[in-house]
Structures are given as C-alpha cells and as structure tokens.
Symmetry: C2
Subunit: 637 residues, 2 copies
C-alpha cells in the first residue's frame, strides 16, 4: 500500500538502472535545472520530480546500482518524506553528494550526468573532486530520464510566441542588437560572437515573450549573435507570420534573424567554433553542454553575458513601464490589505484563500499577465521559513493573534512587480514590534543611503542590517535583487548582498527586502522595489554622480508594528516623505478605479508620523543640560 | 654630462642584453619584489632600483634588445624622471607591460623573468596573455641582474637572528606548531605539509626576529612543516647557540627543528613533492619559483596560509603587548603634537625635520626598535598624495597656513603601531573643516558599528565612507589593515575595504583610516588601531556573538578641525567616551614619564564636546512644534 501523496518509482528506477548498466555508469546524477538554468522550469524539464516523486523546486537526485538518494534543503524535508517512496533515502546534509558518490563507488568507476542541466561551475564542482578521487564524471548527452519518461513526458511547448506591444518598447530589437555588437567591438578580447543562453536574454533582445514556463514569460531558445549574422534557435512553427516579418527572417545579412531549430544549437556552435572565432558567454546561464563543445581558447567567459548586463540598465520607456506597473500593482495590494482587515477577524480565511484572492485582485488590473512567482502567504510560524509557500498540508488560518507575511508580485505587459508586507491585526508583542521596526529602519537606511556611481550593490548590504545588528538580530538571506519588464522576478547581476551583484548605475531597479525570522514563532520581511537615481550632493568627488534610491512600490507599512520611539529623525522624515508620495500617487489612481473604501483607508494609513517622541526626548535632554548648566554656574547650589 | 641624481645604466644594460642574447631571450622583466613578496625589501633584492637608478618602492622595469622602460604609479613619476638616464623611458600608463611586450616582440619570441620574484597570480598575469599572443614567458632561475650586479651586490645578511623575550610571548613555538598541525588534520583535503613562504610567518611561528629588511624585523627563511618534521631553511651561522637550543635543532623527530640551507628550499621541496603528499600554500606570499616545482595535484592552494590566518587572531599576551605599545607610542605622538604647536609658528620646521624629531621621540620609548615604516610627514598639497613621504626635493616648510598630515608608527618588542593625525595650526577653511569632520564621522561610525562574528571586514567599509558620500566626497584607498606584534605594519587578511579581507573575530586588530584628498590643496586622514571585541546586544540571533571595535590608539584629534554641528548625538557621545578613555589611560603614563607640559596639554585637548548645538537645534525644533501645535489648536489664530 502506498499513501496517495506518494509516487511509486520502482519501475522507473529499474529502467534507469538498466540503462546505466548498458552505458557502463555506476551513478547517475539528476538535478532540478533546465538547459537554460532558468529560475522556474517547464513541466517537461522536471526530471528530478518525475524520477523521485518529490515536486519541490530545489534538490538533486542521485541513483547508484543499489541506492537512490535525494538532497534538498530543510524547508522541503517534510514534503520530500511525504512524496517519496521507500526506494528513496532523504539526505539531510549528513554528507555531500560527492562524498556519498565516493562511498558508493570504487576507483575507476564512472558517474554520468546530462551536461545540459549543469552550469559550467556546477559541473566542475562534481568533475574536479571526483577526478581527485580517481572517478570519472562523464557527460551523457541523451538524458537517461528522458529515455524512460518517453511518451509520458510533456511535449515541447508549441504555444505561439508573442511580441511586446510597441507602446512598452523603448528600443527595437535592431537597436538592442546594435548595442551588443558595439560592446563586442569595444571588448579588448575582440569576441566575434555572443552566445545567449538565458531565456530572459533572448526574450528581451527580440522583444518577444512565451508561455513555456510558469511565472517566467519565456520561450525555449538560444541566440548566436555575431557581427555578420543573428541566429535564433527556436521551434519555427511557434512564430506567427507577423513576428517573422518583424524579425526580418527572410534573408541572411547582418540585419536579418536566421531561424534555426532549437535542437541544433550544439551542432551549429561546434561548426562555428571551427573558425578563427572567440565566443563571449556568461557563466551563470550557460550549461556545460554548450560550453563543452567550444575549445577553451575560443571562449571569452564572464560571469554575466553582455546581454544580461545591458538589460540591467532600463531605458526610459522600461523605467516608465516598471513604475506604471507598480502603481496598478499597489492598487491590488491595497485592496488586499483592506479586505484582510475586514475578513481576518471572521476566521474564514487561510493562507491559501488569501493568496488566491490576491492573485485575483492582480488579474483585474490592466495589462495583467498573472503572478510573477508563487505567492508567499505565511501566517505565524510558517513565515519563519523565508521561502515558504502554502499547500494543503501546511495551510494555516489567518488570525488576529498572529503576524502574517505576504510576498507576491505580478507580471504586467509593462513590468514585473514584487512586494512584501508583514501585518498584525491584533496586538503584537513588544519583541515583534521591535523586530519589525528594526527591519523597517534597515529598509529605510538602505533606501536613503547615498553612494558614488559604480558602487557594487553588495557594499550597501550593511545598511539594511545594522539596525538589527545593533540589537543582536540578523537575517540569513540577501537584501535585494534586480527585476525585469515582464521578465524574471529575480534578474541579475543587479542586487544587494547576494554575493554576485554588479556596480550600480542610474536606471537599475532592485528590491530592498530586509527581514527577521524567529524560528517557530513568526517571520518579518519588508520588501519594495526601488530605482537607482541621482542624488543631490554638495560636491562630486571623483567626477562621478552620487546616487540614491527612489521607491517604486507604493503601499504603506503596518502602523501597528512601527515603534517610532526607536527610530531616528532621518528615518521618520524618510517615512513621512514616502507616505506623502504614496498618498499623492495612489489617491488619484484609487479614485480613477472608483475604490472609495481603499481611498479612505489610504488616507488614514499614510498620515505622517510625528516626531513627538523625539521632541520629548530632546526636551528631557534639554532640561537636563539647562539644569546642568545652572548647577555648574552655582545658581542651584 | 649626467646630473648627480642620475645613475648611468649604459654598461649594466649592455651586459644584461648580452646575457639575454646568450639565453635567447627577447625581453626581460624585472619587478621590485623579493622572494617572499615582502612589503619592504633588503638592499640585495633591490634589483629594479639597481638596473634603472630609480629607487621608488613600486615599479617594474622591462628591457628589450633596443628599449628599456619603467612602469610606476603617478606618485613616483617626478622621482623616476630625475633618477633615470636616457636609456630609460618612463611609461605613464600609456600602455600595459604586456601590450608593450606584444608590440616589441614577434610571434614565437621568448620573454624571460626570475620566477622567484613573481607571485603565482602575477606570473599568470604575464604568462596567459603572452601565450594567447603566441609568446613564451619562461622562468630563468638565475636572475640575470644578479649575474651582472655580482660583487657589487650587497651580501646576504649575516646579522644574528634574535628571540622575542619570554615576557612578550603567550605561546612557545611548539604550541604554535601544534596549532598549525591541528589545522592540517582538520582540513578536509588532508594536507601533509604546510610551506611557509612569508617572512613574517616564519618569524611569528618561531618567535624569532631579524634585521634583514628596513622596518620589517624579518630574516630570510622558508619553513616546511609536516606532521613528522619541521624544516627551517635559513643561513645556520646566523643562529646563536641559545636559539638553536631553544629550537631543539639537534634531532630529527617531529618536535625538533631541522636546519637546512636557505638556498636549498627548491631542491628540498622538489624531493618532498615526489612522495604521496599534499602541500598547503598561501597564494599571496608564495612565488611562482617554489610553486612551480610542485605538481598541481599535490598542492592545496588558499589565499593565505594557515599560519597567516592563525596569526591574525592575537592571543591575550599579544593583545596586551599591542595595547601597551600603543600607550607608549601615544606618549611619543603627544609629545610631537605639543612640540609642533610651539615650533611650527617659528617657521623653522619642515616635513623632514618633523619626521626626524618624531622618530627620535619614539626611540626614547621603552622597547623601541625603530619606526615601523617610512614616516609620512606631509604639509599642504603634498598631503593630497595619500602615500607621500618627504625627500630633499619635495620637503615643505610646516606652516600655520596649511594643513599637515603625519602618518607614522613604531616597532616595539611587544607590538607594532600605526597612527595618522591631521592638524591645522591656523584657521582652516570651512571646506577643510567639513571634510575633516566628515572623515572623523566616518571613522566614528565604523568604530561604533556592531556586527555578527564572522562578518567579512570589507562589509564594514561603507561605514567609514557614508558621511563623506552624503556630501559627494570619497577617498581612493582601503579603510583598514591588520597589524602585527613587532612584525609587519600591514598584516593580512585582517582589514576593511581592501578587497581581500577575512571574517572578523574577537582578538583581531585593524586600522581604521578614512581620509579625504583634495588635489593640489590638502590631504586628511584619521587613523587609529582598534581591536575587535564583543559588543553587548540585547539578543544574539544565529547563536554567534555580536562584535564591535575598541580603540587601542590613544591620541586626541585636532579640535580646531571638528565641526560638531554636523555630527549626530551618537558620534559626539562616542568621541567624548573616547576622550575620557584617552585621558584616563594617558594621564598616568605622561605623569610617570614626568611630562607635565604634555599632561596639561592632554587635559585641554580631551575636554568633552558639548551637545549644545544639538540642544539648540532641538530647542528650535521644539519651539516650532509647540508653536505648530498651538496653531493647530487654533490658540494663536
């Protein structure tokens, strides 16, 4: 007997092992990635989920002739236990995958994997130590799981690829191609081509989108761009005639897009690499599979491709689009907050019903294209897991007795949004208020920081943490990530404190999202999107502009959780200025959408905070000093 | 005719070129480093200076069959022009060395260099691009300059090596060896040996010092440490009998130090590497010369060796020593400040005479072993060059009309010191006061920051800059570096904002030294040494201690340059607490040294700053708010 949550994997595993024997492989490694190392993946790429039964987004399966093991992080342990049958053991970090393989194999044995689902670095992380241990890590280009999965495997997507409406475009694809070609010319290593592996990169470059992947409006593709030609590797039948016309596909000059079959990228690349060429690739989104066919001397490897880097600075139309999307998105979120305030006390709503309601509110906004990621709707202790999303087993009732964290976002034709608010409808504890206020203080300290253009995002991370650190508090995740225009919710290399972020320049957008998580109790995160803008400074040492952030998200924070007495004057001033901006921008939008209740709610929730506490403090200080002076002067002695 | 400042290098160059021809080398590269990549070098290692005539500390010479060129940074351009004859061209960054070589050579030609004066990384920085350009970069183990220099070359040092007195030692060398061996055992890569290339590492490990190098109390050596033996490569005749006895040199067990000739390191290492071994090295202080004899599979390379890392956390005796050295050092600096206040108005003193006077003051302090680096004594525009040191040509009179920057330090048997003060004896401009105060605000913000144990030093860099950034000001150097106990003035990997600093833990010492430099006008730097200590925080999230800094340098700042009106309450409080500590610690020391004038000066210069400006500001605020409230309530309408 198997419980209904569990998948029987016995047959799949025995078929996989038979294949492994026939190919002389002792161990086969199955990660949860796709050939473009995309954040979300299409169902047909969910090989790890199919072979194990475990559907969580992160985790790697490893199969030997006698054992099958899964590695995933702690937030998924319960789910994995519930979904996997007895063929599988769950490794909770007792050993690394490589060490496990070393124990399960002997010298000279071969470990196999599909090179198209490993990044260059991840492949080396297996290959090098296994080689040191005298094992071979070999690329098997035909994915063994696919062979077994066969007819059951979801088909390759055939949905039409569609174009972004002109009104949301600042640049034609020709202009973007020209920009990339200029970067190639300017590069001292003289690359002859750029290989574009990231799905968001090709989507952005050609102003096209698809439906292949949940939340990510991308389509399966590669692009090989040289000074002489542009080759787009995509299933041609998915391109309607008007798009083909727009892409200028009927010719072979440098201004035409040559369409090639998606599956031919490797062959084509191999052919191209025979010439006297240098191919520029970004390490983060290129797999060992395509990397491996290019001789090292013909590669120019950077962390991010020039397309990723160019994309990170939004043009004025993209800026406008992102801002407009956030105004409409704020309407949906404000409506949700108003609704929660009324509904939570009834005891009828849960994490799941709330998330569902919020998704619906977003879908009512103009240009909506669905959520930009799975909504994090987390009440009480569930919110202590930073990346929790509710499911039927964990679903918790929303209650005025608990804090509630909602992290959500939408895809709109003009921009992608992402915002987190943490709420309490009852009486928060002193510690909850302190922790929330310190998270907010960090959020504000970062938002109002000033820095020279070109400062690396990670440098600013400390601003978001110091108000917490001062009280011995902290959080274990990054502070910010870039975001796209109807593209990825997490767009690199823009960001703060994630260890791989780029220099900041005007026109970049990043989230600001410090938090605090008290295990088994509650979770706090305050997240907004902000744009990098020029700051007004008295001087400009070094001849560079000095920059700061401008908030693009426009939703007030929960007043009940803010303790202004521990905030400084600058923080309160910032907060009041922000509230003024929220009120000024959102009031007309709410009126235009005839949302009177929300309009009234907004006025109340954006009232300025007074400095009265500070003034009282100063008054006490002042009285003390006056008394002190009088005492010193002997007048009171 | 050659001016007296210039060295005639014609003969040297023609001899070098003859050697190059005989060895089939088209270009020869001569850097200014020694075989241990030490910060200062011994005269016998000053090959670049001898071949060019240019004596500056930084710069690389490159000689082809027809041309000779020198690369050095801008602070040395004037000096290089004055010291080099017409055989040499000075490259002011018009082209990189590698590109210059590419232009001066043809495909297939050979570029030679001594592998013992290149770090592993620096060697690759030549080898890789030259190989891409189809040139060979080859190691010539016999340094060609040495062959020509021959008898004229200063001899290898023969001075006795000496032992640190027991009172300043918290650990015997045996205890330190045991610590390193434990780290070897704990390392998952199972190294069998540690190769110690840094001169400060061997000096620290064996509690020995030497006089081979100016400012750095080191001696020429390598150490190869395994679980079974300890081999010290040093000229044996330099070790007095008592030191040999202490080192237990008469035996070959794991607790004895085997003495080997310094020159035999390469041979010995090659021999050892034949076994089934893994040799742990630190990249930063290992040359390509020794690295090159070990097969890659037998290397464990980290940025810093385990000795460097272990040394970075001072034991309680080392902490006590560093603190005590800074108390005595502060006496010398305070005496200098008092003297300057009286002498500068007479117009008789210069940068050089001041530096000389200060060095003398230090030498009068107990346990003094001379300056720890060349004193930076810089008046007016000279101080705008962050690393300026005065010479006869640039020497400037000290004047009440100009700001003056003095960055200096001493070697003492119990610790090394480093401190910078910036002064003005007349009337500073408003901008000078603002810039100075903002540098001080940054210094204080960093000093009072609180952070979880294990935070990487670089993360805190922004604290030292933000008060400057807010006004559009900045500085182009790192913010902090580690420091030794009668060892190097710059000790890595401890530090802040230099791009290669380690995680911070209690017992580490770092400088805090923000600055501001206005080209052709003035320079400001405020530098103190501080120790990492535990902070008192309400909570301790993550189960780690939260840390902060405790100042070890004890000299007041120039009051004339401080504008408290732009400082916040926390900064003024910190300053007043620091002054109280300076007064409390230094007053008895000055009295004990019978320095009455200095004692009185200190009382005056450590008087607390009042918050009066803040109070006035609050009062205005308060009045405004009261008026506002009254107005709101209609009472004044």
């Amino acid at each position: 007997y198997l419980p209904p949550t569990i998948t029987d994997t016995s047959l799949r595993l025995s078929e996989l092992r038979a294949l492994m024997v026939s190919q002389n492989i002792s161990v086969y490694v199955i990660p949860a990635t796709d050939p473009h190392l995309t954040e979300y993946i299409a169902p047909r790429d969910a090989r790890r989920a199919w072979i194990t039964g475990f559907t969580g987004s992160a985790g790697t399966a490893v199969v030997s002739s006698t054992k099958s093991a899964l590695w995933t992080d702690s937030r998924y342990w319960v789910q994995a236990e519930r979904q996997m049958d007895c063929n599988w053991e769950l490794n909770r970090g007792e050993t690394t995958i490589v060490n496990w393989i070393m124990t399960e194999t002997k010298e000279g044995e071969t470990i196999g994997a599909d090179p198209f689902v490993f990044s260059i670095v991840e492949w080396e992380n297996y290959e090098k130590p296994l080689l040191q241990g005298k094992r071979q890590f070999v690329a098997k280009e035909n994915n063994l799981v696919d062979i077994i999965w066969a007819a059951e495997r979801p088909p390759a997507p055939t949905d039409d690829i569609f174009k972004i409406p002109d009104e949301f475009l600042g640049r034609t694809w020709q202009m973007k191609v020209k920009e990339i070609r200029t970067k190639m010319e300017e590069n001292i290593y003289q690359p002859t081509a750029v290989l574009i592996s990231g799905l968001d990169e090709t989507a952005w470059l050609f102003n096209l989108r698809g439906n292949d992947i949940p939340y990510n409006p991308f389509f399966q593709s590669y692009t090989l761009l040289t000074a002489d030609f542009i080759r787009l590797f995509v299933n041609e039948s998915r391109l309607p005639a008007d798009i083909k016309a727009n892409l200028n596909t009927g010719c072979n000059t440098s201004e035409c897009v040559q369409l090639k079959a998606y599956k031919d990228i490797r062959k084509n690349l191999q052919e191209y690499a025979k010439g006297n060429v240098k191919i520029w690739i970004g390490q983060e989104y290129t797999t060992h599979g395509v990397y491996g066919v290019i001789p090292e001397s013909k590669l120019l490897i950077e962390r991010y491709s020039p397309v990723q880097v160019t994309k990170s600075i939004k043009d004025s139309t993209e800026q406008k689009g992102l801002k407009a999307a956030h105004v409409r998105d704020a309407v949906a979120v404000i409506r949700y907050l108003v609704w929660l305030e009324k509904e939570v006390p009834t005891g009828r709503e849960t994490e799941l019903s709330g998330a569902h309601y919020l998704n619906n509110l977003r879908s009512e906004q103009m240009f909506s294209k669905g959520p930009s990621f799975e909504t994090i709707s987390a009440s009480g202790l569930n919110a202590a897991l930073a990346h929790y999303s509710p499911n039927n087993e964990t679903n918790r009732k929303l209650s005025p007795e608990e804090m509630y964290l909602v992290d959500s976002g939408g895809q709109y034709l003009d921009g992608t949004t992402d915002i987190t608010r943490t709420l309490h409808w009852g009486t928060p504890t002193t510690f909850q208020k302190e922790a929330y206020t310190r998270v907010l203080m960090g959020h504000i300290d970062l938002a109002r920081s000033i820095f020279p253009a070109g400062t690396i995002g990670d440098v600013l991370d400390v601003w978001a943490r110091h108000a917490l650190w001062e009280a011995g508090l902290n959080y274990n995740h990054g502070t910010g990530h870039g975001i796209g225009n109807f593209l990825g919710i997490h767009e690199w290399p823009v960001g703060i404190g994630s260890g791989h972020t780029s220099r900041l320049h005007v026109g970049m957008f990043t989230s600001i999202e410090p938090g605090y998580y008290e295990d088994n109790e509650f979770g706090i995160r305050i997240e907004d999107i902000a744009m990098v803008v020029k700051a007004e400074t008295k001087h400009t040492f070094g001849g560079v502009p000095y920059l700061t952030f401008e908030h693009v998200s426009l939703v007030p924070y929960d007043r009940k959780l803010i303790d202004v007495s521990i905030m400084n004057k600058q923080q309160i001033d910032w907060l009041n200025n922000y509230y003024e901006k929220v009120r000024k921008t959102m009031s007309p939008e709410l009126q235009a959408q005839r949302l009177t209740e929300e309009y009234n709610w907004l006025q109340k929730h954006t009232e300025p905070f007074s400095h009265s506490v500070l003034v009282t403090y100063s008054l006490i200080n002042l009285t003390g000093v006056l008394l002190g002076n009088l005492l010193l002067q002997g007048r009171l002695l």
